[in-house]
């Protein structure tokens, strides 16, 4: 070993070439331990659950909006037969009143035969309906995007066609939307609970990591790192862990969704599939569903970073 002429560190001499890559960019705080992996797993599971809850809530929200717009675009007038009145005349009168109401796109009358066919599932085929007072339906399709006021039509019908009654499905719609809203609120509450659980897990993991890295933190202090710097280092590690965990969880949630979508598609041929689809719409979540899952993953990662930073700051302040 030949001694350099001067140890003067102020003037780095350039005679010898520097090693190509000195930079390893190793993290200053080692969190990549078994504890770190366990935390990533916990975060993955919690993200998975949160994403499924949020995705489910989104599914219900989307389906119920779809039903509501379909259902509320249709109202029906029911005309009951009455011995003293001609039902055909009543229907004609009701139809002409309906045509004059605002926001109406199309008025369609069910003929006697069609009305009877509607009853078949309940009464069986081959019955002679001629003796039965089968009510007749007039289906009114509304223009898209309109929310017309039917009190005028209702009033007119009551005066001119007392055997007719208007059903705008309002009661059914309120019940439907109440139920859907309840499901959505429950889903959101579950998401929040899962996020709180994730925060707690991160808090404990951070405190554990800090206690395990006491020596490292001390040395960082001695070489002139301030609390902010140390907190940032921990935060960066935990953000990566959180991002990895939440990406795994979100990925699993997306895969489950896709598999469920494929299963429902194969069920669709069966009668059970029809009912499922009637209830949930087709299972394939739209872009909003995927966006929700990705958003949840990002939220979890950011919560992980923020909570770990907060915990580190508090830990450093307690330590004096």
């Amino acid at each position: 070993m030949s001694e350099p002429s001067s140890p003067n560190p102020r003037q780095p001499p350039a005679e010898r070439p520097l090693p190509a890559s000195l930079r390893r960019n190793a993290p200053l705080v080692p969190v990549e331990s078994a504890g770190g992996r366990a935390l990533a797993a916990v975060i993955a599971i919690l993200t998975f659950l949160a994403a499924l809850c949020a995705g489910g809530a989104e599914l219900v929200a989307a389906s119920s909006a779809q039903w509501q717009s379909a259902v509320s675009r249709e109202i029906t007038i029911q005309v009951r037969p009455q011995a003293q009145r001609s039902i055909e005349a009543d229907i004609e009168q009701a139809v002409s009143l309906a045509r004059r109401a605002p926001g109406v796109e199309e008025v369609q009358t069910f003929s006697k035969a069609e009305s009877e066919r509607l009853l078949e599932p309940w009464l069986g085929t081959g019955l002679d309906f001629s003796d039965l007072p089968v009510p007749r339906l007039i289906v009114i399709k509304l223009q898209e995007g309109t929310q017309p006021d039917f009190s005028g039509l209702r009033q007119a019908l009551r005066e001119k066609v007392p055997t007719a009654s208007l059903d705008d499905h309002a009661l059914w719609l309120t019940r439907l939307s109440t139920m859907a809203n309840t499901v959505i609120v429950v889903g959101l509450v579950l998401v929040i609970l899962v996020l709180v659980a994730a925060s707690l897990a991160v808090t404990f993991a951070t405190r554990g990591a800090m206690a395990g890295n006491r020596e490292v933190v001390d040395v960082l202090h001695f070489v002139g790192a301030n609390d902010d710097y140390i907190a940032r280092e921990f935060q960066r590690r935990f953000f990566r862990l959180g991002l990895r965990g939440s990406a795994m969880g979100a990925g699993a949630a997306l895969i489950v969704t896709i598999i469920l979508g494929m299963l429902t598609r194969s069920w669709r041929a069966s009668p059970a599939g029809d009912q499922l689809e009637a209830l949930f719409g087709s299972f394939s979540i739209g872009w909003r569903g995927y966006a929700t899952v990705i958003l949840i993953a990002l939220i979890v990662a950011f919560i992980t970073a923020a909570i770990s930073r907060l915990t580190v700051r508090r830990f450093l302040n307690e330590a004096g």
Binding site: P4, P7, R10, P12, L18, V219, F222, A225
Partner: protein, 237 residues
């Protein structure tokens, strides 16, 4: 009092305040006996001194008092003209950036390479890696660790760890260097070489305090000796 303070501040501005000033300082660990008693001394800027005394006399404790990792139970400690009893966290960080330390037990970070350990004080100040790479490499070569740069501390020998610890303390060219037994694990010729490094640093303006009980090392230099014994300090000029 007001005048003394003004004088201190004035001196501090001119870099003339003592790097370290102790007045009647005493310290005890927990409820134990006082390890150090009635210490009154100063370490002047650009000065060079040894701190010596038998094992257990309190050399490490005295250095920890200066590092503010142990607080005095009584008395007054000031660093670079600043009373440390009411210092803020930011102030503490600023003070530590003016000091370099070589710990008796090295305290290298085991998950970082030798190079990264030595560069650590610069890295935590937020400096760009490219801006200090050449400097770090040169210092590593000077202490004879040129081919051990990419190795993790656990595989270094005791003497190599010691040299890495010294390099880490020197890299920021501190105003005050505290070295606890910096030559305890190296052969006499390397010890002389490291001593020359400290002298060179001192020439560039750093106050140096070397704690040691190695008389052959101290005999190489005719400088002030702070001798600890029975909790008291006396100074051999």
């Amino acid at each position: 009092m007001q005048r003394v303070k003004a004088l201190y501040e004035n001196e501090f501005d001119q870099g003339l305040a003592p790097a370290v000033h102790f007045e009647n300082v005493g310290v005890r660990y927990g409820m134990g006996p006082e390890v150090l008693r009635d210490l009154t001394f100063s370490i002047e800027p650009r000065s060079f001194q040894f701190l010596t005394g038998p094992s257990g006399a309190g050399k490490t404790t005295l250095l920890r008092l200066i590092l503010l990792s142990v607080r005095p139970t009584r008395g007054l400690v000031s660093l670079f003209g600043q009373d440390v009893s009411k210092i803020s966290k930011d102030g503490l960080t600023a003070l530590r950036r003016r000091m370099g330390v070589v710990f008796q037990d090295f305290r290298l970070l085991d998950h970082l390479t030798t190079y990264e350990n030595v560069a650590l004080p610069l890295r935590v100040q937020g400096k760009e890696e490219a801006s200090y790479r050449a400097e770090v490499v040169e210092l590593l070569r000077w202490v004879g660790l040129g081919d051990r740069m990419h190795v993790l501390p656990p595989v270094l020998s005791g003497g190599e760890k010691q040299r890495a610890a010294i390099a880490r303390a020197l890299i920021v060219r501190p105003d005050l260097l505290l070295a606890d037994e910096p030559t305890g694990n190296v052969d006499p010729s390397l010890a002389r070489r490291l001593l020359r490094l400290f002298i060179e640093l001192n020439r560039l303006g750093t106050s140096v305090v070397i704690a040691t009980h190695d008389f052959s090392l101290m005999d190489q230099l005719n400088v002030r000796r702070l001798v600890l014994g029975d909790g008291h300090l006396h100074i051999d000029a």
